[in-house]
Amino acid sequence: MGEIGYDTAHLLGALVLLTSFALLSQRRLSALISAFALQSALLAAAAAWQGLIQDSPHLFVTAAIALLLKAVAIPLALRRVMERFGIQRAAEPALGVGPTLVAGVSLVTLSLLLVIPTTAASAALTREDLALALSVVLLGLLMMITRRNAIGQVVGFMSLENGLILAAVGVKGMPLVVEMSVAFAVMVAFIIFGIFFFQIRERFDSLDLRRLDDVHAEEEGP
């Protein structure tokens, strides 16, 4: 089991990271949502695999939550939001794709340089998984910064949470309470986001956050 278990865990972690780059480079909103669904499905696979090699069945629950909620339910709901409000299709990144990807690669390098040397005492599988997870977290942050659109920011936030779950499942014996709470947080977060979407729509007829900034500038005055 050892070799295969190790390699497959790495492969799945790396694939999750790869989809983070896909998320960064997408211009169209619908493609963005698809990439997010793919990332969540890969995360579910990674969690299930960890459950198998660590022999901890509760990770299957985490995998099931990731698959049902983040790979299926949330993307569907986001598509419905897009349809109902007739949101424009372009994702409008604030930064060009090229510079964004360069920044992304630098962040991955940074997290490798940060995590691998400091965790020398931990198990090899854990350290590399952690480095991959931190990369996903940082890329999620980068995505939240580079997207102006509300849906883009939400997807960035949830991709960041995917990175956190990847970190949590990679560490052996992490108590279930954390994973449950993360899943719970995603759910609550989505409800809140739903409310915001609804109201932003009501007030501005657009999900473009720059308009919110305009409102703010007027009220603050010179």
Binding site: A120, G173, P175, V177, V178, L212
Partner: protein
């Protein structure tokens, strides 16, 4: 024969707000709900007193020691006075049509849920539970900040949610790293997430992972404290939400987040081989203080203005705990308590002023001491207290901090003094305009009771003149714990 203290009071203090939150969600009559909110907050305060009288031994999930006990008491007290203020405030807002009975039902349930989340965060012995509670407190306040449904309120809530969401995500990553560092020593499972167990093995934890974890935890929870650079959410959330919420945000939630950071700093201190955690914390605190002190001069909205003042004071506390030692820690703890009391009192006053004047713009408010003497002079007293003037208690904590810092860290202490002076100038200039000069025209009578406001200010005054010896001894023992 004395009985072994049970978990009863700790459970009571969590169950009261939990049940109240559920109950208030079902009460449609807002007048009744406002009264029930006061009763529930009073019961929480009574449970806190019971907890102080009979603190239980730590369990895997809950922990009561001197450090969190005083914060629990403070939280329950300010929660109670805020519920009193809130009852008068919401009646006024309803009359003006800014709130509806439906949104009030939601507001009262959320108020209690928020109290529950804060008390749980303070009492948690498990790092996961602490994180969940802080997240819960964030979610409930996001919902309350957006209560008015104006464009500005939604923008503030959005910004709050996004920035604090990021902060909380970073804190979770730090928590996972903390678990990773302790797992070889404590084995898998809940033990490696339990604070008391972690503290016992802290000297043997791998310092490299601990350093990495602390950086994430400091930046993550620091976002909620209002430390630079991720503090952009704080002024907007204070300015656009209902005023009672601004009061508890500044007075309580920032303390809870700082408490979380300090718990982790204690672990770092117990390890001994890590990078000095205090230096990073003191530097962030000082940067925050200076930034906020200069920003104070440009503000026009009164709630935003006092929110920047809160950032300034949180920076001051982070600096105090960062340089550490018995005197600076004592000053930090005292400042934490008195700042809570004073700042929530100021927000009560500001809420009354905004309702009487019909505006939050400071340049449109003049002559309050002539038109509303009781309120105007209370505002003057509150601002004098927050500016650090004697005889109020904040003078004592700031004086202790500045003198002890000058003895050991000359350059940072000079910067600290500069920041305090810059902030002081802004406070004096603004309160002069608001309190004195010709009275405004078209102001309204004020019917809301001023008792909570005066109670807070009286406590701050008493603390400045005479700090009760048992309280001083308590602070000294906690300052020793913090190291």
């Amino acid at each position: 024969m004395t009985q072994e203290p049970t978990l009863g009071p700790a459970l009571a203090i969590l169950l009261v707000p939990a049940l109240a939150a559920l109950g208030l969600a079902l009460v449609p009559a807002w007048r009744l709900a406002a009264r029930l909110n006061v009763v529930a907050s009073g019961l929480t305060l009574a449970s806190a007193a019971w907890l102080a009288a009979a603190p239980p031994a730590p369990t895997p999930l809950l922990l009561v020691d001197d450090f969190n006990l005083y914060l629990v008491l403070l939280t329950a007290f300010v929660g109670f006075t805020t519920s009193l203020f809130s009852a008068g405030y919401v009646a006024h807002e309803l009359e003006d049509g800014r709130l509806t009975p439906r949104s009030l039902r939601f507001y009262h349930a959320m108020f209690q849920a928020f109290m529950l989340a804060m008390l749980l965060a303070l009492l948690a012995n498990n790092l996961g539970l602490l994180w969940v509670a802080v997240e819960g407190a964030t979610l409930t306040t996001v919902l309350m900040v957006s209560l008015y449904r104006t464009a500005a309120a939604i923008e503030a809530a959005w910004k709050y949610f996004i920035l604090c969401g990021v902060g909380i995500a970073l804190a979770l990553f730090g928590t996972i790293l903390m678990y990773l560092s302790a797992q070889p020593l404590l084995g898998g499972g809940a033990a490696a997430m339990t604070w008391t167990a972690l503290l016992a093995v802290a000297p043997r934890i791998d310092p490299g992972v601990l350093d990495l974890a602390f950086v994430f935890l400091l930046v993550g929870y620091g976002t909620k404290v209002g430390l630079a650079p991720l503090n952009g959410w704080l002024p907007d959330a204070h300015a656009e939400g209902p005023t009672p919420i601004s009061g508890v945000l500044s007075g309580l939630l920032l303390n809870v987040a700082l408490y979380a950071v300090l718990r982790f700093k204690m672990l770092m201190g117990a390890n001994g081989q890590v990078l000095p955690p205090g230096t990073l914390m003191a530097a962030m605190g000082l940067a925050t203080l200076l930034l906020a002190a200069f920003m104070l001069h440009r503000r026009r909205d009164m709630k935003r203005f006092f929110a920047y003042s809160s950032i300034e004071h949180m920076g001051l506390m982070a600096f105090a705990f960062g340089i550490g030692g018995p005197v600076a820690n004592f000053a930090g703890l005292l400042h934490m308590t008195l700042h809570s009391l004073t700042k929530s009192a100021i927000f009560f006053a500001v809420g009354h002023v905004a309702q009487a004047a019909g505006t939050q713009r400071m340049d449109r408010v003049t002559g309050l001491t002539a038109s509303h003497p009781a309120l105007g002079w209370a505002l003057v007293a509150g601002v004098a207290a927050i500016a650090g003037l004697p005889p109020f208690g904040l003078f004592m904590s700031e004086f202790l901090l500045v003198t002890s810092a000058f003895a050991t860290h000359l350059v940072p202490a000079s910067l600290l003094a500069l920041g305090l002076l810059v902030g002081f100038a802004a406070l004096v200039a603004r309160v002069q305009g608001m309190a004195f000069g010709p009275p405004m025209e078209g102001v309204r009578e004020l019917r809301a009771p001023l008792a909570p406001l005066y109670a807070h200010l009286a406590l701050v005054l008493v603390a400045g003149v005479w700090l009760p010896p048992p309280l001083a001894a308590w602070f000294q023992s906690v300052a020793g714990m913090l190291g």
